[in-house]
Symmetry: C2
Subunit: 413 residues, 2 copies
């Protein structure tokens, strides 16, 4: 870790610029101090990643930008668009980067998350979850009234009628897509005739405009092995393509046929009719995705780089073969596989304790740690990890370049 | 669900008191609306729990109050004090209720959590985790300077020296307890001679005042079966009692000897010397604790009632034998055992999907649900669940009585 010759904290507290006497042991920044140093989009002082208070959520900008560029170029060469899912990053600035790279829109999982994105300047939002309560339907219509680019989903006739009534009561027209079940029976209407009838109803109801259909095959994204994943998702999306054809033959609008994700991004263009891919995790990657294997490497899915890490500090090194860190379940979740120590070998990390992480050394450990040392973890499952933090630090070559508010953090309603 | 004859939302938006025309289907409150209705500690309107937007974290006040009273009376009759751990609730108002009931102090897991408690009026704070970085040590000394009741932990000689230097640089005296390892090797110094030597060092170093020792036996709290739990924790705390005796014989202050928890609260007074129990989960309870069994019932630990629930809404009921709700991993965590539907039988709930919960009916299901229905979940593991929410609704007899900020939410640094 770099040593500080100056206490930033006291520097910030002082009103003048004169250097104060500072004990050599005082270095590092609190979260509040780094936020205060980030003014009008520019860091007012050089801060190293290693000086951040921990646990801290960090994103490597070079890797993030490369991930976004690679996704965009691959999909473009495959003749399909991206509509990235904000449930992964919940961060308006990343949504803006995605739109700027050429994405046709941004997906959102919940109405509160969509509101947070819109409040931070994102307009092209497709809400993939059907709102069923009067409260949420009203919120969605309020958002539609303020934002002509907002599209929402429905998956039942009763719900479509409620949407129509709510839009009518406000004197607005709402854009609607039909959510189609890929077979997991989690959300969506059954493909084929039931989906067609729902689309026809949406098309006929006043105050609604049918935009097409969704079919998110979440169950296939983490299938291990590229060939197996390809086979499963093409099979599961076949009924959605038949539904897309039914829309066509019935003269219904199917300009949107959205589905797919990070695990199938280089397969989804084979699903005939699909217009855009709802990729999410590719921006950050995580241990869960790394383990599914890719097209070129059956063991490691390395199409995208692990840009998201948790910086953590060693709190206790007194016991043989292990050390304890400050990043436990409240900072890492308990998703499996467990987080991995970035750049090291022969060590395993567990975050099963709420407050503490446990790092164990195996025989071939590439190094050991002492109290106060900081290390970086590749996260287990990026979506719920991001949901634990209010900010992420945007890092370039180990320097803090920005502090990004995770405006959608906790927006599960 | 109660029907609303009035749209609260529009009522709030209107400047006058005249009733507006409201479609019958509009009912319920957003989170922001309920917060706005809670003014100076009083709800300005009657709001039913069932009208809350979901997912919503709710605490039943009658059950919470009974849990706090029962803990206090049991410990009092056993001649031991309570020093409840705020890592569970992260809610200053609950800490205040605990102190008002007679607790001798409040434990906190991280310095940011301790700061949040203090900013909300809680003073008697014991920080159970050793701060190892200059940044965190400085924050702890800042808190000590502002709050004479603040006590912090140490578990190594090098750290004790850093604390002494930092306190000296600020011209203050810091109260310190020695954290002793109960055998899990997670945190703390080895009991016996190593702990004694550390205590002697703390006692001799300038600017530090030794207050005693901690030994939190987290590993025993969830042992199934009262007898097994009792045997394990008494065995694991025996070395801490020997350390306590060593302190005594060396003339060291051991006025604090803190340990134990919700799983061992009615056992911990048998650990000779122990002054107070760091109970946490008893305020809320959860599926993990219910399953450990109690002294009177080997199957169900029912000494305390499950006061904490997640209110969730059914989003999809189209598929046989199941329905989908809006409370998934981001609202419930993926801790096991899974959340349980309160007051119902013959159904299982899983929150493995990030955004959605899955409820499955078994043969003897006590009921089934339709889209829009709300149901309550007993949480899996209360600590990390609370850490997902910014507010909890305090409910009495199904009516919202208060909206409590969870000021320590996300305070893991």
């Amino acid at each position: 870790m770099p040593k500080q010759s100056l206490s930033r904290r006291r520097f910030l507290q002082s009103t003048g610029a004169a250097a104060l006497w500072i004990p050599a042991s005082v270095r590092g920044y609190t979260s509040a101090e780094v936020q205060a140093l980030y003014v009008d989009g520019v860091m007012q002082e050089e801060v190293s990643k290693w000086e951040l208070d921990t646990p801290a959520l960090c994103v490597d900008l070079d890797l993030l930008e490369a991930n976004i560029a690679k996704m965009q170029s691959t999909l473009a060469s495959n003749g399909i668009a991206s509509r990235p899912h904000a449930k992964t990053h919940k961060t308006p600035i990343i949504a803006r980067m995605q739109l700027d790279s050429g994405s046709v829109g941004i997906c959102s999982a919940k109405i509160s998350e969509a509101q947070a994105l819109f409040q931070h300047g994102i307009e092209e939002i497709l809400l993939t979850t059907t709102n069923v309560t009067p409260t949420k339907i009203q919120r969605a219509m309020d958002l539609r009234q303020a934002n002509a680019s907002f599209i929402q989903a429905t998956d039942s006739a009763a719900n479509a009628r409620l949407l129509s009534e709510a839009a009518g009561a406000m004197g607005i027209e709402a854009d609607v897509v039909v959510d189609v079940d890929p077979g997991g029976h989690r959300t969506g209407v059954t493909p084929g005739q039931p989906a067609l009838e729902l689309a026809q109803l949406v098309d006929q109801l006043p105050n609604l405009t049918l935009k097409g259909l969704l079919c998110y095959d979440g169950g296939s994204q983490h299938v291990k092995g590229f060939a197996q994943r390809r086979e499963q998702t093409l099979q599961r999306l076949a009924a959605a393509t038949e539904t897309y054809d039914l829309f066509n033959r019935s003269g219904l609008n199917n300009e949107i046929f959205s589905g797919g994700g990070t695990g199938t991004y280089n397969i989804d263009h084979e699903t005939r009719g699909l217009t855009d891919v709802q990729v999410g995790s590719y921006v950050f990657m995580d241990a869960q995705y790394i383990d599914i294997g890719g097209e070129s490497d059956e063991q490691v899915y390395d199409d995208f780089a692990a840009s998201l890490t948790i910086l953590t500090t060693v709190l206790n090194d007194q016991y043989e073969g292990r050390c304890t860190t400050d990043a436990g379940a409240k900072s890492c979740t308990i998703n499996r596989p467990w987080p991995r120590v970035k750049g090291e070998k022969g060590m395993s990390y567990t975050s099963g304790s709420d407050e503490f992480g446990t790092l164990r050394y195996e025989e071939e450990a590439s190094r050991s740690y002492q109290v106060g040392d900081k290390l970086e973890l590749i996260v287990s499952h990026c979506d719920p990890v991001v949901n634990l933090y209010d900010h992420m630090y945007a890092i370039r070559q180990d320097r803090v370049e920005a502090v990004w508010p995770i405006a959608g953090r906790g927006m599960s309603a």
